[in-house]
Amino acid sequence: MAKKSWFLPAILGIMAIAFPPFLGGYFQHVLILVMMWIAMATGWNLLGGYCGQASLGSAAFFGLGAYGAGLLYLHWGISPWWGMIAGPLLAIIAAIPIGLITFRLRGGYFTLSMLAVCEAMRIVFLNWVEMSEGPVGIVIARTWGYQKLPYYYMVLAIAALSLYVVYRLMKSKLGYYFVSIREDQDAAEGLGVPSTKYKMYALIPSAGIIGLAGAFYMNYMAYIEPAVVFPLIISAQMILTVMLGGPGTFWGPALGATIFILLSEVLRAFAGPVIGTVHYLLFALILVLVIMFLPNGIIGDWDKVKGAFRRKKPVYVGGE
C-alpha cells in the first residue's frame, strides 16, 4: 500500500479520537455502533473477503463472544469485563471444530453450512435454559451507567486492533496464502498450500475479532438474549457492509460499516416514524445496485466510482 493512502485514514483516526467528547450522547452511541461494526466487518472480511470463504453464520461468533462475557457473570459473578478475554476465547475454541467440519465444503455449500451452525447455536442458547437463561437473557449493570465516552474509546481500540491484526496478517505469508485459496483453491494446493489448514488460520482470528465485538456488546448494551446476538440479520449485515465497501480490500469493510450504520441511523431517526423498518428494503435496493455496478465494492471499484463523476471525454474514431 502506498504511503499516501495512509494520509486520509490518519486524519480520520485523529478525528475519531478528538471529536467524540464534544458530541451528544446519541451521536456517541451511533459512533460506538460504527466502530463495533468496523471491527466485525473487518473480521468477516479476513475469512470472507481475503480467504474467499463467505460465511453466512458469523453471528455465531458474535453471540458466543457476548455469551462468553454474560455467562461468566451469570454463573460465577465474575465481572463481564473479563469476558473481553473469555468471549473471544470461547468464539475461537468453538471455531476450531466448526471449521474442521464446514471447510469440507466449498463455495455456496460452505456459506450455507455456516448459516446452519449459527442457527444451531441460537437454538441451543434459546433452549438450554440452565446454561443460558434461555429467552429471558442476561442482564448486567453497566459499569459507567449512561456515560458513553468510555465505551466509545474502548470500541475504538477494538476497531483499531482488528484493523491492525488484519493488516499484519495480510502482509505475511498467511495473507498470500489466503488470497491464493480465494483465487483458485486447486492451484493453491498445487503450489503446496494446505488449504484447510490455512482456512483455519483465517477463521480463528476472524472469529476472535467478531467474538471480541460480541463481548463488548454485552458490556455496552448490558442485555443479551439469543434472538439479539445470534440472528441471521447480524451475519447478513456483516456481508452487506463488506460487499458495500469492498470485499478483499483493507479499508472497504470499515467504509462499508460506516456508511451502513450512519445511513440506517439517519433513516431510523428521521424517516422511521414514517416508513418504520422499511429501511431494510432500501438497503436491499442499495445492495442490488452495488452488486450490479460495483461488484468489487466502493473501494474495489474505486476507478469506476471516480469515472462516474468525471466528465466523459468525447471519443474520436481513429484518433484525433
Binding site: 505469508k173 503446496g192 498450500v193 494446505p194
Partner: protein, 242 residues
C-alpha cells in the same frame, strides 16, 4: 528404482478407463515427453501423480517415497511442481504475487519470498510483467508465469502440462529455451505436449499413449517413426515428411 517410478497406475471415471496400467520410470535430470491424442489420458496421469484425482490402483514412488496416498500439497512440498493445461492463474494477484505465493513453500519470510520470486522472474524473463494482474496477461505469459510460480517452490521434478499449446512459433522457441534452462539447473522435467516441434525438440526420451495405454516408447526419432504412433496420432503425412 527410477527417480519417479510409476507402476501399473489405473484411473477410471465411471466406466471409462482414462489411464490403463501405465508403467514408466523417469531418470533424474532428463526431459521426458508424453504424447497422445486428445483424451488419451495424459493430463489424468499428471493428476494421478500429484493426487488431484487419486489413482484407483497402482503405485507412484518419488525418490523412494510412495506418494500415491499423499495429499496434493504434501506431494508439492516433497518437490514435485506442476503447471496446468488450462491455466490457473491467481487472477487478481500480480505476477510477482503469484510467484511469491509459490516461493512461500520454502520460506516464511515475505522478504525472502520476494527476493526468490524476483530471481525466478528474471530467470523466466518475466521481469517487465511483474506488476501486471495475472488475469490481464496474454496466454503465453500466463503459461510462463505458471512455470515461474512452480519453480519458485524449488521443485526437483516439474510436470509441465501443455506449455506450448496456443503459442505462436516465436513463443514456442522461447518456451523451449526455458524448459532447457530448467533442466540445466538440475530439475527433472515431465512434459505433456501436443505441439510436435516443441516436444520432439526438447525430449530426451518419450512415450506415446492412446486410450490410456502405452503404445510406444523411445527417443523422439523412434517415436516419430513408430507405426503405432503414426496410426494413432501423427498421421502418415507427418511421418513421411520426417
Amino acid at each position: 528404482m527410477a527417480y519417479l517410478d510409476i507402476s501399473h497406475v489405473v484411473r477410471k471415471f465411471g466406466g471409462l478407463v482414462a489411464v490403463n496400467d501405465i508403467t514408466v520410470g523417469l531418470e533424474q535430470g532428463e526431459i521426458f515427453g508424453l504424447i497422445g491424442p486428445n483424451g488419451s489420458g495424459k493430463t489424468t496421469l499428471f493428476n494421478a501423480i500429484n493426487n488431484y484425482y487419486p489413482a484407483n490402483s497402482g503405485e507412484i514412488i518419488f525418490k523412494g517415497i510412495p506418494i500415491t496416498r499423499m495429499s496434493t500439497h504434501e506431494i508439492c512440498q516433497l518437490g514435485i511442481g506442476r503447471t496446468f493445461q488450462v491455466v490457473k492463474p491467481l487472477r487478481r494477484m500480480t505476477v510477482l504475487e503469484n510467484v511469491m505465493a509459490g516461493a512461500f513453500l520454502r520460506t516464511n519470510s515475505a522478504t525472502k519470498a520476494r527476493d526468490k520470486a524476483l530471481e525466478i522472474l528474471n530467470f523466466c524473463e518475466l521481469m517487465p510483467r511483474k506488476d501486471v494482474p495475472a488475469k490481464d496477461l496474454p496466454i503465453a505469459d500466463k503459461k510462463r508465469m505458471e512455470i515461474a510460480r512452480s519453480l519458485a517452490g524449488d521443485p526437483e521434478l516439474i510436470l509441465l502440462d501443455e506449455t506450448a499449446a496456443g503459442l505462436n512459433l516465436v513463443e514456442i522457441e522461447a518456451a523451449m529455451t526455458i524448459v532447457r534452462k530448467i533442466r540445466d539447473s538440475g530439475i527433472t522435467c515431465f512434459v505433456v505436449e501436443h505441439v510436435m516441434k516443441f516436444i520432439m525438440g526438447i525430449s530426451d526420451r518419450m512415450m506415446c499413449i492412446n486410450f490410456g495405454s502405452e503404445i510406444a516408447r523411445g527417443t523422439p526419432r523412434e517415436i516419430a517413426s513408430h507405426p503405432e504412433v503414426i496410426k494413432a496420432y501423427l498421421g502418415e503425412e507427418y511421418a513421411k515428411g520426417k
